[in-house]
């Protein structure tokens, strides 16, 4: 059963469907989006449950696209991306539910939203470099337009341009790298399995790897707001509409990391060996520096944005440690953070709608004012500072072990400090300012979340807790693939 194909097609069809519905039928439009993403989520769940660990590529769809270039529309799931796809589907559904704060040009917005969802799910389901990139762009362009047209705040325009140029630059660098992989392997195919098979027998020439890996590392890195290319993220998320921020910060952003794990490391292991040290220190910069920046933020979205940039540091660190534990932990954090970021931005979106401001100094006592949203935010912030019970903790502690065993001891120590203490610091400040204390001035009339949004956010929280209590659900599948990648990257240790 080609579950993945269905999952990817549903949103795209929904986009078309919204296209034919007259713009005045807002209810219909919304329900189409929600319905489609809900169905996609259902399929993703079925796929996830029926996925058999160690069964290689599953739910495969392979259609020849361009013969002469060896392009295939090749969708397939393995231990790594099945979990990410499930996460993406959950976030997509949640975002669709949270998209009802859009009041003008609803039709256009929902077309773009569905396109974005389709692109996201497609990017993570693709086993073909070209479509992998193609779907990512398909999701990226709507992001820009959504921020530009439906965004909020005075600096919206600047933010739109910044995020557009940054992400385009990153994507292009990555594209050059990907093409480099293609032309250097000489596999005459963009299909990742073929390429891997090819490099296994004849690795890419090492001089070329020294070009290819940094291209991919910084290209993908920019997409993931690797320090010092991170400033677009808080700005962009601050300006983005709720649903967009949820989808981008939650899922689309993980594309770069996925690419690093999926393509960069296996294809250019030699390059990786010589560059991962740099990556580790940049990851540390993410964690420590952006953590410190987050401490200074007065605006909730800025804080969440910076903290999510900081969290990327964990994933980079896991990748940089380049061992099974690290890669597994990295994917785990990718999934956990995806759910978390979506949750956080969903909530901040709700708060923003109440008073049109996210200035934390003017908030306070919201835990009493809006019990549901309040406690959800409380848990989100706890998860954000790595509280056990949430999936984030499982991933983060795994990464600590990985980095330590990889000999990155200094980095690990500082990272632990930034995670435990600095992370705790800004999250606690946020709780203190927003939820605790006497009720903030203009928040007296603020209402709690609607049932629809509540279910969406509940879903995200639930997923976080489930994966937090039983991380094995994910790690069992990831571990095997991670082991393969590590074997490719370190043939010496085979």
């Amino acid at each position: 059963m080609d579950w993945l194909l269905i999952i990817v097609l549903l949103p795209l069809l929904a986009a078309a469907a919204v296209g034919v519905v007259p713009g005045s039928q807002r209810r219909a439009i919304r329900s189409i989006t929600i319905g489609a993403s809900g169905l996609a989520l259902l399929c993703a769940l079925i796929a996830f449950c029926s996925f058999e660990v160690g069964g290689g590529l599953q739910f495969e769809t392979k259609v020849v696209w361009v013969e002469s270039l060896g392009l295939h529309l090749h969708l397939a799931a393995d231990g790594i991306n099945i979990g990410i796809i499930l996460m993406g589907a959950i976030v997509a559904f949640a975002a669709a539910c949270c998209a009802d704060d859009i009041t003008h040009r609803v039709k256009e917005f929902h077309i773009l939203l569905n396109l974005m969802i389709g692109g996201i799910l497609g990017a993570f389901a693709s086993m073909d470099l070209f479509f992998f990139y193609f779907f990512h762009e398909l999701a990226l362009v709507p992001t820009f337009i959504m921020i530009g047209v439906w965004g909020r705040g005075a600096r919206r325009n600047y933010a739109t341009y910044k995020i557009t140029l940054y992400l385009s630059l990153g994507a292009l660098l990555a594209l050059i790298g990907l093409i480099g992989v293609y032309v250097q392997t000489g596999a005459e195919s963009f299909s990742i399995p073929d390429l891997i098979a090819k490099v296994q027998e004849s690795p890419i020439d090492e001089a070329a790897q020294q070009w290819i890996f940094p291209l991919l590392m910084f290209g993908f890195g920019i997409l993931v707001s690797l320090w010092p290319f991170h400033t677009w993220a808080p700005l962009g998320y601050g300006a983005a509409p709720t649903a967009t921020a949820m989808l981008h910060a939650g899922v689309l952003k993980k594309f770069g990391l996925y690419g690093l794990i999926r393509v960069a490391i296996p294809m250019a292991p030699v390059g990786a060996q010589s560059w991962l040290g740099v990556l580790a220190w940049l990851a540390l910069a993410n964690l420590l520096y952006c953590g410190l920046v987050a401490v200074r933020q007065k605006d909730l979205n800025q804080l969440i944005g910076n903290s999510s940039v900081a969290h990327m540091g964990f994933i980079f660190l896991g990748i940089a440690s380049l061992n099974v534990i690290g890669l597994t932990g990295a994917v785990l954090v990718m999934i956990a953070h995806g759910l978390l970021a979506a949750l956080a931005f969903g909530l901040s979106g709700h708060l923003y709608r109440q008073t049109g401001s996210l200035d934390m100094s003017r908030m306070g006592g919201l835990l009493r004012q809006m019990p549901l949203a309040g406690s959800a935010l409380l848990m989100a912030l706890f998860a954000g500072c790595g509280l056990p019970g949430f999936a984030n903790f499982a991933g983060e502690i795994t990464i600590f072990f990985a980095a330590w065993s990889a000999g990155l001891k200094t980095v690990t120590v500082i990272a632990a400090w930034s995670a435990l203490v600095i992370g705790g610091l800004y999250m606690m400040r946020a709780i203190r300012c927003i939820l605790h204390g006497p009720l903030g001035g203009d928040w007296a009339k603020a209402g709690d979340v609607s049932p629809l949004i509540a279910t969406a956010l509940g879903l995200l929280l639930g997923a976080l807790l489930v994966f937090g209590f039983v991380p094995g659900l994910l790690t069992k599948g990831i571990e095997g693939e991670a082991a393969k990648i590590v074997r490719l990257a370190k043939p010496a240790e085979r």
């Binding site: 910044k162 010092p228 400033t231 700005l235 520096y289 952006c290 410190l292 920046v293 401490v295 200074r296 061992n323 099974v324 534990i325 597994t328 932990g329 006592g365 835990l367 009493r368 706890f382 509280l387 056990p388 019970g389 903790f393 499982a394 502690i397 795994t398 600590f400 072990f401 330590w404 065993s405 690990t412 120590v413 632990a416 400090w417 435990l420 203490v421 705790g424 610091l425 606690m428 400040r429 709780i431 203190r432 939820l435 605790h436 204390g437 006497p438 009720l439 991380p471 094995g472 790690t475 571990e479 082991a483």
Partner: protein, 588 residues
């Protein structure tokens, strides 16, 4: 039996989840389920104790490559003892809370948090490996955060909660690194394997790891220099103070040290632990002398008693530490609950100088509090006496200096407890509240009475012939301290000490300015770092680099297009010039 073991830990979780998800709308039901859960755990504990044999059920939580993390319950003598303390004291305090929190509108939330705390605490007690212990360590931290900040609309409470959480986080940082060191050195995090793996040549590294892990204990057990959060934590409801900040959570550090004693045994870490313990007990006792808030006095006394226990561990006698921990749990809980009953009776008045003359107004509280005080001061034949003796013995054997410190602390203890007791209960009422004070309802007094029993007898289970020197010393300081306090405070309207030696008294009152120093550090180091990073982000990266790049591009465009003068002769000239350049480029 295994199911029983699992249930002990999970019952409170269920109740917390049930209440949290709002399964039980009514306040009564929530309270009932929570109390039921903890009492259930207590009964199951007794069942285990009766059964006697050690158990070790476990399931895998996370297994990747060489990393294997289990959730396993290690049930042996040590953990059983701690189980009894936690669930037993816990049950009583739950019951007491029924009365204490009756009026509060958020009673359901209160009991949910309380159950969550018990669950996490049991997790620590039963943990069979470091990561699991760390997990529940964090959970205990967060649940105490929630309970301290229970009245979160009160800024002081919210701040206290934040402070407690962050201070603990600093300790946990060391804990985590310690775990990593152990794992890297010995290849496992499971206590059983580690105990097998430690040996002479690992002493250096395990000593380091042990000390790092002890940092975690410093956080939870509020040892100097991470003690600052405990007094503020008294912002929470009094039963919480009794449960968390007297009987259980603060004891977790000591318990952990005893649990992993094999790790530090015979390493340099012991020395450090002992001294930190001794220092804590001394400073805390000194600070306690000049506090006026009844709960703060008890808090500082808790600090110094914990210092005792830690010192005992450091001196190589976990048994003595556990012994004192147990007795202390009972009588300190008793004292806190007694204080709680007083506070309720006086409509949340906590200043001892506004009390007085409670003796005839609240007889039950009075007598039980007296028992608690005597136990704490180590009056012979009370439980505290025996446990304190044990510790003093150890100190005398191993480290004379610390022995003297301990004796002096004992003196101080007697002094401030007598002060508290005389000022609060004897003499005339010094406020209207004190005059109309009434005895608390049974639901609150019964736990007092129940707790009074172990406070008296708990010592006999582990009693042994005391060393005569130690006996003499402790009796001496006891009598001396009582007389001193009596002469100073009987019938006093205000504290005479500041008048007599002002400087010293002020230093004690201001707790040696620890908080001020930390505040300064946070403001001037952490904040400046953050400011620096933020400014760099704003001006250098986002400003200089990004806007700079954009500006340069725009400028380049504006400059380049100046070539387009619109005059076709200029164009012709460009054409020729370009031609020339190409000629030079290709022909040279």
């Amino acid at each position: 039996m295994n199911t029983a073991a699992w249930l002990i830990m999970l019952l409170p979780l269920f109740s917390a989840a049930a209440i949290g998800l709002g399964v039980f709308r009514s306040r009564k039901a929530s309270a009932a389920i929570s109390v039921g859960a903890v009492v259930g755990s207590f009964l199951l504990t007794l069942l285990l104790v009766a059964a006697g044999d050690d158990l070790h059920p476990s399931v895998t939580w996370l297994a990747i490559g060489g990393l294997q993390i289990d959730i396993g319950l290690q049930i042996n003598g040590l953990s059983k003892l701690m189980l009894c303390v936690v669930t037993g004291v816990g049950s009583l305090i739950h019951i007491f809370s029924l009365g204490y929190m009756k009026e509060d509108r958020d009673i359901s939330r209160y009991f949910a948090f309380l159950s969550l705390f018990v669950f996490s605490m049991l997790g620590i007690v039963l943990a069979d490996n470091f990561v699991m212990m760390f997990i529940f360590w964090e959970l205990v931290g967060v649940s105490s955060y929630l309970l301290i900040g229970f009245w979160f609309e009160k800024p002081s409470a919210a701040d206290a909660a934040k402070k407690a959480f962050l201070t603990n986080r600093v300790g946990d940082f060391g804990f985590l690194i310690g775990i990593l060191v152990v794992w890297a050195a010995l290849g496992s995090v499971e206590f059983g394997d580690l105990a097998k793996a430690v040996s002479g040549e690992t002493a250096m590294i395990t000593g380091l790891a042990g000390f790092l892990i002890f940092c975690g204990a410093m956080g939870k057990s509020a040892q100097v220099p991470l003690h600052v959060w405990l007094p503020d934590a008294m912002e929470g409801p009094t039963p919480v103070s009794a449960l968390i900040h007297a009987a259980t959570m603060v004891a977790a550090g000591v318990y952990m040290l005893c649990r992993v004693f094999f790790l530090i045994d015979g390493t340099w870490a012991m020395e450090a632990v002992a001294w930190i313990g001794g220092l804590t007990s001394l400073l805390a006792a000194l600070m306690a002398v000049q506090q006026d808030d009844i709960k703060r006095i008890l808090a500082y006394s808790t600090l110094s008693q914990l210092g005792y226990m830690v010192m005992a561990v450091g001196l190589g006698s976990p048994d003595a530490a556990m012994f004192h921990l147990t007795t202390h749990a009972s009588f300190k809980a008793l004292l806190f609950l007694g204080a709680g009953s007083v506070i309720v009776a006086l409509h949340h008045e906590q200043d001892i100088w506004k009390m007085g003359g409670l003796r005839e107004r609240m007889p039950k509280t009075y007598w039980t509090f007296l028992i608690g005080t005597m136990a704490l001061c180590g009056v012979p034949l009370f439980s505290g006496f025996f446990s304190k003796e044990a510790i003093l013995d150890v100190a005398l054997e191993n480290n004379l200096l610390l022995f003297l410190v301990a004796v002096f602390v004992a003196l101080l203890t007697t002094f401030y407890m007598t002060r508290l007791f005389i000022v609060a209960f004897m003499g005339k009422p010094r406020s209207s509240h004190a005059e109309q004070a009434k005895e608390s309802p049974a639901v609150m007094t019964v736990p007092l009475l129940v707790l009074a029993v172990p406070s008296v007898i708990a010592g006999y289970f582990n009693a042994h012939a005391p060393n005569p020197l130690v006996l003499a010393a402790s009796l001496g300081v006891l009598v001396f301290g009582m007389l001193l306090a009596n002469s100073a405070y009987s019938g006093a309207k205000a504290d005479p000490l500041p008048a007599r030696f002002g400087r010293l008294a002020k230093a004690l009152r201001d707790r040696f300015w620890f908080d001020e120093i930390y505040q300064w550090l946070i403001d001037h180091v952490q904040e400046n770092l953050a400011k620096l990073a933020d400014a760099f982000d704003r001006w250098v990266i986002a400003g200089l680099l990004v806007r700079g790049a954009h500006g340069t591009t725009e400028l380049a465009g504006r400059v380049l297009r100046l070539a387009q003068t619109g005059n076709l002769q200029t164009y012709a000239f460009w054409f020729a010039a370009g031609m020339a350049v190409l000629l030079v480029f290709t022909l040279s």
